[in-house]
């Protein structure tokens, strides 16, 4: 299940062709479980991000964990050489923007093999790999801009929460009172991160969302 992030100008009803329209995520908190509304397409649904007036027409595919061996230790330095497994590449086949960024077709060839092929103690080889496996998107309800955090530096919900508080400028008190931590798992279901062990949480999550109580 993909989360589409799309905004249009609130006063200008134009809907440029070539990308998905805005998408409204419905998070039902009353019974503790969440589900997301579907349906991309040209029709505009409610936009909850009034303070944003810019168009973000891109369809953002969420970063996926390496899902091949869910029971293995997630060693960020151990990524296989086939780069396609955990990358989020915008394709031109109905998703994302056609012809953007404006680079010529022959430049589209991924250069991942360049880094992997160098070997010999190159720090950047692992650095590239690390960034792909542990960064997760975080969004706050009411704020259109998605942020990214490196989950590998956290070992607990406390650690994660304090980083998120700093990132979104939320005080401890405000956090306790008004926010809950929700996440979308690999099956596409939205769940609350309340009663889940940390390990289960990190293994199954695709992205995080801060929702208001």
């Amino acid at each position: 299940m993909e989360l589409h992030l799309g905004l249009a100008l609130p006063t200008n009803p134009f809907s440029p062709i070539g990308y998905e329209g805005p998408f409204y995520t419905n998070v039902n908190t009353s019974n503790g479980s969440c589900s997301s509304g579907g349906g991309a397409g040209g029709s505009k649904k409610r936009r909850g991000f009034d303070e944003e007036t810019r168009v973000v027409p891109k369809t953002l595919r969420l970063l996926l964990w390496k899902t091949d061996q869910p029971d293995d230790e997630d060693d960020p330095n151990d990524l296989d050489n086939s780069s396609s497994s955990s990358s989020a590449i915008l394709k031109n086949d109905g998703e994302g923007l056609v012809g953007w960024p404006p680079v010529k077709a022959w430049r589209k060839k991924p250069r991942r093999h360049v880094h992997n092929g160098r070997g010999r103690g190159r720090a950047n080889n692992n650095r590239m790999a690390a960034s792909k496996s542990t960064y997760v998107k975080v969004k706050m309800e009411g704020n259109a801009i998605a942020r990214k955090i490196d989950l590998s530096v956290h070992g607990s919900f406390e650690s994660l929460s304090s980083t998120l508080m700093r990132m979104f400028n939320i005080t401890e008190e405000h956090w306790q009172k008004s926010f809950k931590l929700a996440y979308q798992d690999r099956e596409g279901d939205w769940l609350l991160a309340e009663n889940v062990p940390w390990r289960t949480f990190t293994r199954s999550l695709k992205c995080i969302k801060l929702i208001r109580r």
Partner: protein, 586 residues
Amino acid sequence: MESSELKRSKDSVNSCESARRSSFPDEVLERVLSLLKSHRDRSSVSLVCKDWYNAERWSRTHVFIGNCYSVSPEIVARRFPRIRSVTLKGKPRFSDFNLVPENWGADIHAWLVVFAAEYPFLEELRLKRMAISDESLEFLAVSFPNFKALSLLSCDGFSTNGLAAIATHCKNLTELDIQENGIDDIGGSWLSCFPESFTTLEVLNFANLTSDINFDALEKLVGRCKSMRVLKLNRSVSLEQLQRLLVNAPQLAELGTGLFSQELTIREYEELESALSNCKNMHTLSGLWDATGIYLPALYLACTHLTFLNLSYAALQSVELAKLLAHCPQLKRLWVLDTVEDKGLEAVGLNCPLLEELRVFPADPFDDEIVHGVTEAGFVAVSFGCPRLHYVLYFCRQMTNAAVATIVQNCPDFTHFRLCIMNPGQPDYLTNEPMDEAFGAVVRTCTKLQRLSVSGLLTDLTFEYIGRYAKNLETLSVAFAGRSDWGMQCVLGGCPKLRKLEIRDCPFGNAALLSGLEKYESMRSLWMSACNVTMNGCRLLAREMPWLNVEVMKEDGSDDSQADKVYVYRSIAGPRRDAPPSVLTL
């Protein structure tokens, strides 16, 4: 001659003729005008009077056609009887980014047929964004016995078989330049098609091709073409093979290496280094696929007189680039990947004071998980160190208004400013404001600006600035920008020298489109896609302006009334007859 002089001096009706005290014989006039090379000068000359128009058309040997549909080959042949060299451009530029349907047109064949009849002594053909088939290449190869130079840039429709035909038949070939094309690479045997007796090649560029070539044939070819000055290899040529080629061609001025990564012995490395440094004339270096820090030092001695370095196939890190640039003090043009990051660009600023052109390409343009690349800091660093910078193409993921203002203050001579902030509609990341002031600073400060590409979050204010200040602007590219028709109207009402306007995904509609009615006749073309223009608006434009071709390309499943992609251009050839069904001519 004297009687004609008398006759002309009596004739006072034509002010041009009466102003002349002594008239030039046509032959002298033609001789003088034949020295004129610039096609703009020639256009001006042809407008002076009828005699000059005729002298110009008879003395012209090269014709440049910026839009192949603006004129027909018959009209060209009628006006210019003595052409030896033709440059033709076809598809709209956005076809490079897959925005134009596959079978759109711009096929060269009809032109070749006319040229074969009217210009049998044609020597040069340079094509950009044209469709050219193997049959056409073969027809070209056999129809023009004096043919010397073929250059294909961003073309498509042909395979290596077509190249084989050229190699086989063109006995006087001096230039074969195949760049960035959609070519069907069947194999490298085309190189063997050059006959043993063939020695005239000066320019050979096949960097575009992906398949292995017949190295033996290449080595022999390079060995016997002693005048070769440009050689650009493809990726399949190894370092060891490169060394063998270079020992036989130390005269090369432009070199494109093949793969720059291989296990070499120390002896082989030294031989390579020696072969490279023996190329005393080398001023341009490219290729360098997969170049790493290990073998780059082999280039150091060869870089002393380098003026153009193209590293856009080598994903270098900042330290590697810095070390290399320390040996390139004469550099004027540099193309790199953004893997060099801001630190690499700092090294550019420190080492390349003569730099005039910088292009920074994204190594991973479609992956938004990447947190690397270059930022505003790198661009600013270059601007401090390189005051002569006048051409920039910069792909980045963040930018600020303040940074751009600093950059143009340091480098006020920009003629080409192409900034691509890769996330559409992204504001100044520090202030969260639109990037209007950045481009305002560019157009206000850079009075010589000819080409501008804008990006980021932009309101109509950007276009007000452009219309008001960009008096020399000829080409403008806009994407995901603007708020209303007013933006586009400002540009159309302002920039007096505007020739090409290409717009995608902007809220400009019919009012904007129609505000440029007279303007479009002084422009080469207008492209608008994914905007708010409707079919009715386009029909109105077509009706009002009979000298414009108004073409609409519809997308599958779109509203009937929407004009998804609009391409408008002036033409004296009338509406084109070779449009595919997806292109509607109004």
